[in-house]
Point group: C3
Chain length 336, copies 3
């Protein structure tokens, strides 16, 4: 199964969209659909962006290839091709080109502000902003030009969202951070008086929660992308061009650098910092600051349950094992 390209698309047009190269005699070749390499059928252009994907080239059944230049030697002879530095980036550009063609043919769906969206009169809404049904924009909140908030997104008072951002349905921006002082009478609420400030070109998935700051602001830097169901607590500062996968939780006052990638379901404790260019594995807990770029992991390896039971039970005895091993070593060195 493939996604349809605009009617009449040629390989030359594809090459132009991706700023690639194609042989002159192949420019006029028609292509009907875009597909991953292993799903392409006759009429489709398949893209190949990695040596791993290239394993599927020998069984390729499509009509043309979008190929990273470095992989050209792996492609079967005789298949028309568009060459480009990075075929994955090329695929992204074609996907945008298809989406634009779809939108152009469905002008009603691009309607700017749905009549059921509620905008506080003191809010500031930029040019070309798209607000879906049920969106709520609080007092004094500013939404930058070209930003789209999908259905039922809530942005509370005094927040700022940059330009060309995209926020998916159900996400809540600017709810109170989780702040309480203990007292003999129970928890006493700390009113959350800060804001949320989100930079340009940020994308946030569905049903996330980005809390406002307590005294300072919660900040998400330019170009950072968040997946679904992510919790960003009060006073968190996330840098630029980060990518944070689904179900991640970031606790209060954590400071995250630029180009940090966080795997799904990971957790980041509060009041710590993570430097630039760190990669955190899925479901790993970051419990103290990370000062060196690199790839970090902390997850219990899966095993058949009975095998896990044995290793988990042994784990409790690990300090004891260490002690006994040391005793053996000392005994042995005494003997020798």
């Amino acid at each position: 199964m493939s996604v349809a390209l605009p009617l009449g698309t040629t390989l030359g047009q594809i090459s132009d969209v991706v700023m690639g190269t194609v042989s002159p005699q192949e420019r006029s070749l028609p292509v009907a659909g875009l597909a991953p390499l292993n799903r392409a059928q006759s009429g489709d252009i398949g893209f190949c962006a990695s040596a791993k994907a290239a394993r599927d080239l020998s069984s390729f059944r499509g009509s043309a290839l979008l190929l990273s230049e470095s992989l050209e030697s792996l492609a079967p002879d005789g298949v028309p091709r568009v060459l480009v530095v990075d075929a994955y980036l090329g695929y992204a550009k074609i996907s945008q080109w298809i989406a634009q063609a779809r939108t152009a043919s469905r002008p009603l769906e691009a309607a700017a502000i749905h009549p059921s969206a509620l905008i506080d009169p003191s809010a500031s809404i930029g040019i070309g902003v798209v607000l879906g049904p049920g969106v709520v924009i609080g007092a004094r909140t500013r939404i930058g030009a070209g930003t789209a908030l999908r259905a039922n997104v809530v942005v509370q008072d005094d927040c700022e969202i940059g330009e060309r951002c995209l926020v998916h349905p159900g996400t809540v921006i600017g709810a109170d951070g989780f702040g309480f002082a203990p007292s003999p009478q129970g928890w006493v609420k700390i009113e959350q008086l800060g804001r949320v400030r989100i930079g340009d070109d940020v994308e946030i998935g569905a049903n996330c929660a980005i809390d406002r700051g307590a005294l300072e602001d919660t900040v998400i830097g330019r170009g950072t992308k968040l997946d679904n169901l992510i919790q960003v607590a009060h006073n968190v500062v996330i840098g630029e061009d980060c990518a944070i996968a689904g179900c991640v939780g970031i606790a209060g006052s954590a400071v995250i650098g630029n180009r940090v990638q966080v795997g799904g379901g990971a957790g980041i404790l509060g009041h710590l910092s993570i430097c630039d260019d760190v990669i955190i594995s899925s479901m790993t807990l970051v419990a103290s600051s990370i000062h060196e770029p690199g790839f970090y992991t902390g997850v219990y390896p899966l095993a058949p349950h009975t095998q896990w039971e044995k290793s988990a039970a042994a784990l409790r005895h690990l300090p004891d094992l260490r002690r006994r091993l040391r005793a053996l070593e000392q005994n042995q060195s005494k003997d020798s």
Copy 2:
């Protein structure tokens, strides 16, 4: 505390609902409420479906029992009873019977489509569909007969939901998958051009996020049940009759078989497959494909914090321990 049965319910009616057996002289016995075994009071029927629950039979204070046949020998003499192959399934049927009676007495609550629901004119809505307040249905989306979408559910463009499905409030179906190509200028959006297709008899909990596919579709098979706050990423394919507990995250392009059960908070990485009849423990990360049916676990066992600190510290030295143990073994074998 028990849940009230319809006024005038007899043990004979209960037996008919669950397709069980009851002695003729007990058919006319009135029962007023349904309760778990250890909570039943005078007038209640309590259900007992497992040997573990049967431990509470000796202190049973209710008036009648719904009992799995295999457990009959454990029941105290003289307590009226309905016997059935599986009393848990019997309980499910009684719960449905109660719910139907409630709905019948409250016709207004069963109103089909709330006036505040927004349905794109190009969408297709089956017979008997129930849409709660604030529901949003996108362009060309199809909702099968008898399906109910509760308040504020959002189903975006071009999705398909089968018949007799139930989706709880706040869930978002068809938001963009998390797809970006790296480039020297930062992340470049990959438009998500696929759809979400959900089979018949699927239930999805509250505040979930089921993303649309990138080029292919995200698929949830017939009869599969999802709990709350679950993330299903783009291109994921989930088979039939699966049960996935709350807070689970499933990453992009994972393929999950039939009858797979996933415990709460578990994670499944992308681009892997899980075969039929696998059970994953809560908070376990599946990081590679599973080819054998079975029960898999990977979770760090809880301990008092100071004890955990010692075993976690020792864990870092585990490779070193192994090495030292091997050295000792070699020394010893040299000695002997």
Copy 3:
């Protein structure tokens, strides 16, 4: 950056708000903003509530201090100060005082019930209840006096919420619990016939899901605070004055005591109990009952990925290591 205090605020007023002490000659000193210690600038009052924070006292640049009495000896001479038993609690009180002043100056934002909120005619709404846009209140549901439900909160039929509660946007209360009986034809729905009952002074974050009970009720006790994206399954009973951080999942029929604190992303399995005064670390799974107050942890420590790979691989051999160590010990004791 600081948060502005009401115009004309004096140190004497601050002292009165926090029920602290200030020297008579400093009462009339004006203060313009409230800030954490390390962010305070000229004109600000900074608060210092812990010995750890007190490290920043030497570089303090603000104009006055809100100080816990026990820390007074650490404060630099000559800085005007308000002394109080617990400066963190004092900070909470000032935050509330600022929030009240803001609300008083913006009466329109305090509007009680938004016209787009949908309230079933059989529901009962207390005095002074605030309902945001898109809120849905089901049949026979009762909302206590002074409670606020923010935008798009859904409370389904037959639920009870106490007085002075606060529920943040997108949270769903009273959706069906996840209950199905296995059958040869697949999962059979168990209708969820219980309710949700929430005590007074409870706060619940954004995009949570609090399920209704199956036969019994799901209960959240007075004064308990929940952060965002939390799953509370059917029949769960949570005590009073608990604090549960974001992304926590609590499975069905778990019973949690009073003053329990649960770290972000932790999981609690079903059908177990946790006694009073337990603290659970972030991302820890509670898989069996806890009967002793204390601090419990179970999380795999993070490491650079290559180092983790080695320790994780060794972990699988841990039972084998134990066996070999025992063999060595026995050999050695034979030798000696």
